[in-house]
Amino acid sequence: MYRETRIVNTPPSSTLDDAALLGLVRKGDEPAMASLFDRYSKIVYSVALRVLRDPAAAEDVLQEIFMQIWRNPDGFVATRGSLGGWLAVVSRNRSIDALRRKRPADSIDEMELASKYNLAEEAERNHMMEKARGVIGQLPAEQRKTLEMAFFDGLTHSEIAEMTGDPLGTVKTRIRSALTTLRKAFTA
């Protein structure tokens, strides 16, 4: 028997926070699922597109991730941090798996993620995005490029070292330094 959940006298789902939306999704509320999609589909799709450079493949990743939320909303629990951050990283990881033609590992979604940002709020999301872009834009070109190659292109440190001719240690240090700068900018 199918059961439809309708909540009366509640605000529209688009104004609810992520935890409330996930709670509704758990009860099978389709409008709540649509709200989550409207809130985060752009970042999930953009990350997948950047990694895969293929709109059709990126859309597949997008569908797969949101259907995963529908089927198992408990897969993400609030204690793991921000849903928006988690989705962005899962999109990247799933896309890298697709790039390597590797079966996605369930373990990649089981991550804790420390986040201080309420990415459910569009204004805060935009502010964080602009700030992060600013910080990355100020990084030395080698650091920026190395991080990009590792995160968005999924190249291992050995592959990056081979391509750039830099020692392995330098590659690792550049990636770490870039992320440290990013973290410092947000904790300052």
Binding site: Y2, G28, R53, E59, M128, M129, G154, R183
Partner: protein
């Protein structure tokens, strides 16, 4: 890195990005499971990566993808366990104790006076049966309707599969590295690098194929640029490395819809590509 020493931050970052070999990843995962400190630091690194992910240029997914998701969501409606309601107590006032109820031992005077409830109750069963019959009829009609729409969807799926198969064959042929690629030129003319771009601005779709390209060292790539007709900055339209025969292709790179192109150009960039072209432009076509 072992079970007693903490994992260095450099390595935690690589682990978080799944850039470890399977053996290294297994060893790190086993340590992290038992080490709250490394787990905490890993969560911080994942948070950093999430922030970094948000630096990507935002692109809206195709409009149909929302509809597609919601269709799938509707197809996979959740079945929640029904709430069990307490069974309503049957009215037995006026009937005395059931255990001592033996009709044959009753006389006319012993029979209780039939209350309103006792008069109506026997009809309740018939009413329920009638209700069930109506419900069954409705369910039958719904099932038939669903069966009809399923058949229709199956036909659509079959058509889509055929279309997808054809599209896949076109794509496979264009990207197959073993495919024979022949560029016809004037007889006895030496082979020259050539690129052919097929671009639909309205849809933002682009297919590019190149032949006779000179080989590049591994740290360099060719990058294709779309030069907008409105005088805007050149837009990156994909990178490529030619195969041993000098052939390469870029199929459907992410390009926003509606950008009219004045020309296309190719430059040589460092591996991974660049966001601005490095001169000289080695190939150009308008």
């Amino acid at each position: 890195m072992n079970s007693t020493r903490h994992i260095e931050r450099d390595d935690l970052v690589l682990f978080a990005m799944q850039l470890f070999s399977p053996e290294e990843a297994a060893s790190a995962a086993s340590h992290i499971e038992d080490c709250p400190e490394c787990r905490r630091e890993l969560a911080e690194v994942q948070g950093d990566l999430a922030v970094y992910a948000y630096t990507v240029d935002l692109q809206s997914p195709p409009a149909e993808s929302r509809e597609r998701l919601l269709k799938q969501v509707a197809l996979e409606k959740k079945t929640l366990p029904p709430e069990i309601e307490p069974e309503p107590e049957l009215p037995n006032r006026g009937f005395g104790s059931r255990s001592s109820f033996t009709p044959s031992s009753l006389t006319e005077d012993d029979l209780p006076r039939r209350s309103f409830g006792s008069k109506v109750f026997p009809w309740v069963g018939w009413a329920l049966a009638a209700g069930l019959a109506v419900t069954s009829g409705n369910l039958y009609l719904q099932r038939e309707s669903l069966r009809g729409s399923t058949a229709e969807q199956n036909t659509q799926i079959a058509q889509l599969s055929t279309d997808a198969e054809t599209a896949q064959q076109v794509m496979d042929t264009m990207t197959d590295t073993t495919a024979m690629r022949v560029t016809l030129t004037m007889a006895q003319a030496p082979p020259v690098p050539q690129g052919r771009a097929i671009y639909v601005a309205e849809k933002g779709t682009l297919i590019f194929q190149a032949n006779n390209m000179a080989p590049l060292e591994s740290a360099k790539v060719y990058e294709l640029w779309l030069i907008p007709a409105n005088g805007g900055n050149p837009m990156p339209a994909g990178v490529f490395h030619p195969d041993e025969h000098g052939n390469a292709s870029i199929i459907m790179p992410p390009i926003p819809k509606g950008i009219e192109a004045k020309a296309f150009g190719v430059t040589i960039e460092n591996a991974g590509g660049s966001s601005t072209p490095t001169l000289p432009i080695i190939m150009v076509g308008a």
